[in-house]
């Protein structure tokens, strides 16, 4: 099934990235040893519904397994 892609304009994308960066910064202030990439990816995933997160994980996990063979 083809998914319809919602277009996003540059200004909206920039605002989203800025908000994300601010949130990452606040978490790193509380947890200075945390890896910024791990924190950022977590925040991005939290914007998705749980089952979609699992689907993304399974797709990437299986692709990695095939690549290794």
């Amino acid at each position: 099934m083809k998914r319809r892609v919602q277009p996003i304009d540059a200004a909206k994308a920039s605002r989203w990235a800025q908000r994300l960066s601010t949130r990452v910064g606040k978490i790193l202030a509380a947890h200075p040893d945390a890896d910024p990439d791990n924190v950022r990816h977590t925040l991005i995933l939290l914007e998705q519904p749980p089952l979609e997160r699992l689907q993304r994980s399974l797709i990437r996990g299986r692709a990695t397994a095939i690549f290794r063979k």
Binding site: K26, I27, A30, H31, A34, D35, N38, V39, H41, T42, L43, I44, L45, L46, P50, L51, E52, R53, L54, Q55, R56, S57, L58, I59, R60, G61, R62, T64, A65
Partner: protein, 160 residues
């Protein structure tokens, strides 16, 4: 109901039948972590059953054309048959308390009209630290950071 992501019709049916028959199980491991937002990858969905010998389980599996295969040589305990291949069976969890204790630390993830019990990220991290296999060592920092992020978000939400 159309199968929700990421399950096929038969995988969804298996979970629904287990839930309908009130089999006590929970999703554990990295699939449970990813359901809660941890940025990790996995190839399967680990299920921990309170009592694999329960008649309710074999009846549920029969109903969907699947069966439990006990461990042998290089094979872990498995489910076989239609829609069962995605799921792995976990017999014990390193570093955790009994199933009855740990189910209290579960979060509910909606699955259609039902709810899947999913082991909390905190307890998944505890089990990975206890297991301490090479593959666990790779994921521990990621789980730890994801947990830190979520705990900070929760604390901030409580303050508001």
């Amino acid at each position: 109901m159309a199968a929700p992501l990421p399950f096929s019709e038969s995988e969804l049916r298996l979970l629904q039948v287990l839930l309908k028959r009130k089999v006590r199980f929970m999703v554990v491991g990295l699939s449970a972590a990813t359901l809660q937002g941890a940025p990790v990858v996995t190839q399967d969905v680990d299920l921990w059953f309170e009592n694999l010998g329960e008649l309710k389980i074999s009846r549920a599996l029969q109903e969907v054309g699947a069966a439990y295969v006990p461990p042998s040589n290089f094979n872990p305990p498995m489910l076989a048959g239609a829609g069962a291949e995605l799921f792995d069976i976990v017999l014990r969890m390193d570093g955790l308390k009994s199933f009855a204790e740990e189910i209290k630390n579960c979060v509910d993830v909606p699955l259609g009209r039902q709810k899947l019990k999913v082991l909390s990220l905190e307890r998944i991290l505890a089990s990975k630290i206890a297991a301490n296999r090479a593959k666990d060592k790779l994921t521990i920092p990621v789980l730890r950071d994801a947990l830190a992020a979520m705990q900070t978000l929760k604390r901030r939400a409580k303050k508001k």
